[in-house]
């Protein structure tokens, strides 16, 4: 899966949770889930679960703590997919 495909997938996953439409439409690698998209911290847990389901992977607590931006999410997903 290339970067663009990954971003498209992540974008569809976070769509239900975002509170900032403008930031969402400009979503890029540098977008932060909490500060830019205004996803609340409780819902970030649900985003992670949706990512797990979408890619059939499991994300551990320490990895989850780092997953605050699109870039970090892409790195972790890519790593997990490579390990599969």
């Amino acid at each position: 899966m290339n970067k663009e495909e990954l971003i498209v997938k992540l974008k569809s996953i976070v769509a239900p949770y975002i509170q900032d439409e403008v930031a969402f439409s400009n979503l890029s690698e540098s977008t932060n889930f909490i500060t830019d998209l205004k996803i609340n911290s409780a819902n970030l847990v649900d985003v992670i679960l949706d990512v797990e389901d979408e890619f059939d992977i499991r994300i551990e607590n320490d990895e989850m703590e780092q997953m605050t931006s699109v870039k970090a999410a892409m790195d972790i997903v890519t790593m997990k997919l490579a390990d599969k």
Partner: protein, 424 residues
Amino acid sequence: MKNKVVITGLGVVAPNGVGLDAFTEAIKNGKSGIVFHQNLEDLNFSCCIGGIPQVSEEKKLEYLTPLQLRGFNSSGILYGCMAAIDAWKDAGLNVDPKSELDYDSGTIFGTGTSGVDKFRDAIYKLDDKQVKRLGSTVVVQTMASGISAYLGGILGLGNQVTTNSSACTTGTEAIIMGFERIQSGKAKRMLVGSCSDDGPYIWGGFDAMRVMTYKHNESPTQGSRPMSASASGFVPGSGAGAFVLESLESALERGATIYAEVLGGHVNSGGQRHSGTMTAPNPEAVQKCITKAMDNANIKSSDIDVINGHLTATSKDVLEIENWIKALNRNGKDFPHINSLKSMVGHCLAAAGSIESVATVLQLNGQFIFPNINCEDVHPEILELIAEEKIPKKILQKELRMAIKASFGFGDVNACVIFKRYIE
């Protein structure tokens, strides 16, 4: 100087009608909301009938956002939000997620158990060592105060936001608690009511106690028979009822429609003393609750035109009538008219008091008494106490001024509230 308290908004989600218009039509026509449920039979329930409000997926989206509905599995919170939001709008108030915080408005919205189906899902996942997979909403959907927490956020309420829980007394108690808060000047406006989950995990315990009827699985609409000689146990139900209570001053200031005035009420407990037990009411406390409510409302028993009883369709109905007679000191032809909504919707447990109170207020507002269905064979012991004409089996158009409603719950707890027709 105590504030007068009036009702400016109503909302209801009942097995025989969702929304005020459908519900009003239903109670006037004696429409039953009790149906057979295959899942209860599949689980070996003795009682396989019950009342569940009909809510489409589309309808849910009118009240909760797609995000709120993700992983949502709490029927009680859904019904509670629907009834409460309806009541809020009915009172002419706005629902706006960006509204200013309103320190003058609060909520006391009760429930018995919240989110039991969500809890079940969570327990299965957890036992399967999948605790990390629960998601973020298990707590808010299963905590008792889930319903008031949802409402506090949806409406931006800044006054007291809490949940009461007192079994089948819950809804009536919530009305009295909100009434007292406004009366004492601590709030201008209180959204009060109650809700209940439905389904086998809520109803199973009652089936195990053998207090629900098992004789009407083939004839669901005839199953709930308050005050009838052939009453054989209650039929479970669910839903929610809601009221916007408001100081008269605030209501007049806003030019709000006023459904009725809350004159007063009383809450007490029989302490499981004398003949009171965990599950049966102490008659002395029940009578005291009724008389204290009249004292609090500053009325005489002769003022009361209609009683909406607790009347669950068990053997205790006769005892309840005896208690009303002693408390009001009225019997035979002098007894007020009496009815039980449970004949149409079953026993909606924690939601019972609020749904039944909505029906009671609709009567005052519309000047009618809704019919008791399934009561063609009034219990002979009841007929020895009060005149049969006092138990209407058809809708009665009648001038009504004052209505009294009581609920009695497990734990030997009681609540009684008095409503008065409001005339400008």
